[in-house]
Amino acid sequence: MEDKYSSNVLSGSKLGMVEVPDSRLTRYIVLLIISKVLKALGIFESYDILKVVHIVQFIFILKLGSAVILLFFQKPFSSGKVISKRQWIKLLKHAIFSCVISLLGFFGLTLCGPLRTLLLFEHSDVVVIALLGVLFTNSGGGPAKTRGAAFFIIAVICLLLFDNDDLMAKMAEHPEGHHDSALTHFLHTAISFLGVADHKGGVVLLVASLCLKVAFHTASRKLSVEIGGAKRLYALDNLVSAMVLLPWVIVLSATTESKVESWSSLILPFAMIIFSVIILEFYVEAICSAKMETPRCARYGAIALFLSALLLANFWTHPLTDQLRSMSKPPQQVSTEHVLSGGVLVSAVFFIMSSSILASPSKKGQKGTLVGYSPEGTPLYNFMGDALQHTSQSLPRFIKDSLKQILEEYDSRQIFYFLCLNLAFTFVELFYGVWTNSLGLISDGFHMLFDCSALVLGLFAALMTRWKATRIFSYGYGRVEILSGFINGLFLMVIAFFVFMESVTRLLDPPNINTDMLTPVSVGGLLVNLVGICAFSHAHSHGGKSCSSHDHGHSHHGHSHSEHGHGGHGHSHGGHGGHGSHGHGSHGSHGHGHSHGSGGGGMNANMRGVFLHVLADTLGSVGVIISTILIRQFGWLIADPICSLFIAVLIFLSVIPLLKDACEVLLLRTPPENEKDLNSALEKIEKIEGVLSYRDPHFWRHSANVIAGTIHLQIMSDVVEQRIVQQVTAILKDAGVNNLSVQVEKEAYFQHMSGLSTGFHEVLAMTQQMESMKYLNDGTRIL
């Protein structure tokens, strides 16, 4: 097979990842891809030839042919240094090894078929070394590599277990049958001793020989340096191995009768195989890995090879190509094809993924954000912060971490459990539906899945809310919660609208409903949703109690569900209002703000959205059950549309408060529950000594527990700014604002500004206006 020592020698010493512009690389990539496609073609061809030609003969011919061509090109004897005797001995050993590996590879080809051989055997050294590094050493190179290795193993396992190759199974029935030589016979018995079919044995064999090949390549690198270049070694190696194989071939052809009638008809295919599999591939690979980095070359090559192999495997059996082949092929052969199965496809996909992951260079130390340029002109990189956080994360660890996070907090835990329940119910429904082949159940299952998306959204939002603030999202991700509530609400509105429309059309023209199937399913759904409602409303009332310490008569457990939604809303308002009224002292309101922050989990927008969604589902099931009963008992077909109409209106009404609240928050409204506190706080600020006036007070709720605010203060020029800032901060903090910035302005400030800006006039006018206002203020103060 192809040898490519040069790849490592030539480009292994490159420093860093110097990105060559793509335009220059394109033609190498194209060349690489073409050579890989040709190689795949050659392998397929050789599989066909191997059916008639004995494997040893085959390899002998290949080696001989390529040796002749390579001798012609490389002239290993006339150029370079003289090869010593010791080197000749080494070369002999090398050739024997390469013969053994070629034998194993092509034997695997006869066992597994060309597609599987290509998938298994044609991995570049980089990939295999990375794989082995991950598997057997600790310094694998991060989770990405581990993932790649896992993909590789999965792919092999797929080939081993899930690849139902019927034709091969037939062949595997006679492992001890007639075989061409002692060697193949021995291998067959060895494989059957292991207890697997031929084909599976071939897989194991190929993987083993792949490892051998890589080890061999790595070991022979030294020799190639000694001999004077990989190409020379390759040429000599082919020659020597042809000579090594010669006696065996002679013995073979003397003892067994050949199946081939005319060798002349095989000349063309042999030439093609020699050209595509051995010569072209070797040179192209050498060139490409010299021009590009090895990993990149390996990646493109592997992808091209696997894809073309898949395509060829699909079309090789095609009548057209069959016909084409028969022109250049002995006509008598019966082609036993290796069928394309799902397992092969999956494993091919996995192989492609794994080789692209494993072949990608480890990015450690490569990333950094360009900060700027030093005075000498060299670029400066920043490796702190973002660059370090962007390392790829291990998938299992990620799942574990997020699960831990989910279970940490009450509401996300609630959502998660309910999501699990819902999903379980959905899958049971789907399985049962598929099993009994009932379309109604399946469609209902899909509807449930769709519902789960709302839950997933809620869960995700609950998780994301707790992310730390970053440079980009400087206030943190608390708003995700509100957005998710908003989206859920909108979603529900759309659904309600559609239900409404449909029920109107049904009202005009009631269809005949098949009621047999509906009841058990809807009862099941109802039960699931009732559990959800209990869970969420429990969370709600719980949070409510912990939130408001004063007794608050908040016990609407027995109410109907729509009341619940409203109740939650009313609660948050009533609670705050009551608080504000009796909490004039700064202490009280301080406590209030705090408790609100911690009790944010009680009924935030996100939870409300999820709750409303579950509620809508419950109402839907209740409606279905009621209408089913009505239809069965009394034959009122009109009951169904009326029920759904009613439900749609209910959903719609219950969503409105949620949407309104979310919109207010998103529109940066002053939080209504803090409005009174804030107003009194502003009054207090005006009374602080030294404060002339305030300007642009903006307060808005960022998320459940962040209220941000900004304010401009105009103060007298002879006051200590610091004291005033602290006072104002304290006052506003009491009012619930916990992310505040105060800008203190004195008159000189405006003069500075007017001098600074180029648009002098307008700012000056503004300044004068401010000034006059201030005088006015002063006047009022004096008065």
Partner: protein
């Protein structure tokens, strides 16, 4: 003592007069070019839907009726856009201290979400139909879809013009609010092309980096490069601190509505193509494939809008300032007497209005006023129009 803040609202008669209110709304709709365009197009769409509906009822064709309902549903998007463009011009009050300018972002967001829903539904239906192609009656489809296409083409045309108009209209007004606006050159030119075509979002996302860099050092006139008025990544281009809240260009609304119309147009085109294919070649599979493609197109084209508006709603640091801000921080920290810069928060209020808050830790003997004005200057150049700097003196 006189009251320091004057509240007009309290003394207004709260009598509810429908006619006055309606005419007020009407006038406010007609006052602005964007909302006027929206309104006219809404009227056009509604009348088309009504014609379709009556004709459908008259000829008793279910397809026409359902299509007209679909049109009505589409009108909600326009209605949302219209409402938002009116609401966003409401004056700010005590509760909504920033005014209602965010309504436009919200409207864009809602429109985008609706489009995503629509795309999803179309896609699932397409898949369903691809599995078992139904018998489509294509005799009546063609005229209706051609008419719908015409209406939508008018819409696209109008909004392209609207875009131009609005960019012109913007230049004139809007320097009344802030202290520092209008002072610097005023190359606010991202009108025309970019919120009308799909290229529009290219502008807001991808366009930024490449653009800002390639034009570095210029004084940042967006004019020449059509869609990319946003070349203000460079700190020394001063071209976007301009328009006041309240007269926003309502880019998000326009983008949302335009996407919606484009989606509709694509839908009509798809229907026409598939109807032709079905008539000529009996390719029944053409219909689901067309609708799937359209759904995908819609979905893909909505994503940038959604991303942007979610970013704004979540108080993300404006992407256009991403590159300018670190440099600004550096410059502020280099000011004499500034020890440290804490808690920088920068966010977008609405299109091109950026607000920032900072805390500066300064030396006890530093000149706070000078630092304040310098800081303001630095960030004004970067395009932050409202800045709140809290100066804290370090304890010695």
């Amino acid at each position: 003592m006189l009251p320091l803040s004057i509240k007009d609202d309290e003394y207004k008669p709260t009598k509810f007069n429908l006619v006055v209110k309606l005419s007020g709304w009407f006038r406010s709709i007609l006052a602005d070019k964007t909302s006027r365009n929206l309104f006219f197009f809404l009227c056009l769409n509604l009348s088309f839907a009504f014609v379709e509906l009556t004709y459908g009822i008259w000829s008793n064709s279910l397809g026409l009726i359902s299509d007209s309902f679909h049109m009505f549903f589409d009108c909600t998007a326009l209605l949302a856009g219209l409402a938002a463009s009116v609401i966003s011009r409401w004056r700010s009050n005590d509760s909504f201290s920033y005014g209602y300018v965010r309504a436009e972002v919200l409207a864009g967001f809602v429109n985008g979400l609706f489009l995503i829903f629509t795309a999803f539904f179309i896609f699932s239906e397409g898949v369903e139909r691809a599995l078992e192609p139904p018998d489509v009656h294509h005799d009546r489809l063609l005229p209706v879809s051609v008419a719908g296409l015409l209406v939508n083409l008018v819409g696209i045309f109008v909004f392209q013009h609207g875009g131009h108009g609005h960019s012109h209209g913007d230049e004139g007004h809007g320097h009344s609010h802030s202290l520092f606006n209008g002072s610097l050159n005023h190359g606010h030119s991202h009108g025309g092309g970019h919120q009308d075509k799909h290229g529009g979002h290219g502008h807001s996302h991808g366009g930024h980096d490449g653009h800002g860099h390639s034009h570095g050092g210029h004084d940042g006139h967006g004019h020449s490069h059509g869609g990319h008025g946003h070349s203000h990544d460079e700190p020394d281009c001063h071209n976007e601190l301009q328009h006041t809240p309240g007269k926003g260009s309502s880019k998000q609304i326009l983008q949302g509505v335009l996407l919606h119309i484009i989606a509709d147009t694509l839908g009509s085109v798809g229907v026409i193509i598939s109807a032709l294919l079905m008539q000529k070649y009996d390719l029944m599979i053409a219909d689901p494939i067309c609708s799937m493609l359209i759904a995908l197109l819609i979905g893909v084209s909505v994503v940038p809008l959604l991303k942007e508006s979610i970013g704004i709603l979540m108080q993300r640091t404006p992407p256009s300032l991403d590159h300018a801000l670190p440099e600004c921080y550096q410059r502020v920290q280099q000011l004499q007497g500034v020890y440290n810069l804490q808690e920088p928060h920068f966010w977008t209020l609405c299109t091109d209005v950026y607000i920032g808050t900072l805390k500066l830790l300064v030396a006890p003997d530093a000149d706070a006023r000078w630092i304040l004005s310098q800081t303001h200057g630095i960030f004004t150049q970067a395009g932050v129009r409202q800045l709140y700097v809290q100066i804290e003196t370090a304890a010695m």
